[in-house]
Amino acid sequence: MSRVELLNRTLRSLQSGTPDIEACALISDEGLVIASVLPQHIQEARVAGMAATLLSLGTRAANELGRGKLEQVLIRGDAGYAVMSEVGQGVLLLVLTGKDAKLGLIFLDTGRAAAEIRKIL
């Protein structure tokens, strides 16, 4: 199985194993999609650009504001959450959830998926 297939499989099992996760994607720090499980209506290129931008800014802001090394960027809207975290050198994992998602569980499952992704990368 190729690396992309392995990554896609990891993303699919993250999404199907955690009902609150609606979509997820692996994105490079240049804003390009590496692998994704995103609904049809989402424009991959835009989402990738946005997520990479947010993670870069988050990293800068955490440092500038004396919050140390960035662990994740969390966006909360009235329809749910977007969680971004760096899972490897220059690679970020984006996860979208519904508004009633249990964040503790999301963090746990994305943490596990991140470890698997690191092995594949």
Binding site: E30, A52, R60
Partner: protein
């Protein structure tokens, strides 16, 4: 993305900047030497009476005129290789660094085009020859301006990269992303 030096080379090809242009430019060296100081005086007079630009040159106009005269002679020195590009790129960076907005050099370039056109017209009687020589001069003036503009554009990206931590490639991707 091509490097600025590659862009310089592509622009010269695109404009058909050939040996003929180089010969034309070398041939008008005497005219530029003779009339250049007047053209320089004219544009420094405008810079000095405009508050937004005067503040940059206060107390150093005479020294700057000398640097400018050197720049003008390089236009007609016949060598347009990598070193030429490097010198223009550095000049661009110098203006960026001190915070001169890009439209000021653009405006000065407009004065240089007309000032040098007049200088050629005063010395070359044959209209076809005038047009031919001016054509080569305006090519190199415009190429110079493009290099300066490239360094301004690069500086803007550098500043954003530095402030946001975003990679250059990410910013380039966003800039080139389709809107729909």
């Amino acid at each position: 993305m091509p490097t600025p030096l590659e862009i310089y080379s592509n622009i010269k090809t695109f404009l058909s900047f050939t040996d003929r242009d180089i010969a034309n430019l070398s041939a008008i060296r005497g005219i530029v030497e003779k009339h250049g100081p007047r053209v320089t005086d004219d544009f420094y007079a405008v810079i000095a009476r405009t508050p937004e630009t005067a503040k940059f040159v206060e107390g150093r106009v005479e020294a700057l005129k000398k640097t400018h005269a050197k720049w003008m002679l390089e236009l007609v020195a016949g060598d347009y290789g990598d070193a030429y590009f490097e010198s223009r790129w550095r000049i661009g960076k110098t203006h960026v660094r001190i915070g001169i907005d890009p439209f000021w050099p653009e405006s000065v370039m407009s004065m240089l085009r007309s000032g040098l056109h007049l200088a050629l017209a005063q010395e070359i009687a044959n209209p076809v020859e005038l047009s031919e020589k001016y054509g080569s001069l305006v090519k190199i003036l415009d190429v110079d301006m493009m290099i300066v503009n490239l360094s301004y554009a690069e500086d803007r990206i550098d500043r954003l990269t530095e402030f946001t931590g975003m990679k250059r490639a990410l910013l380039e991707n966003l800039i080139h992303m389709r809107k729909d």
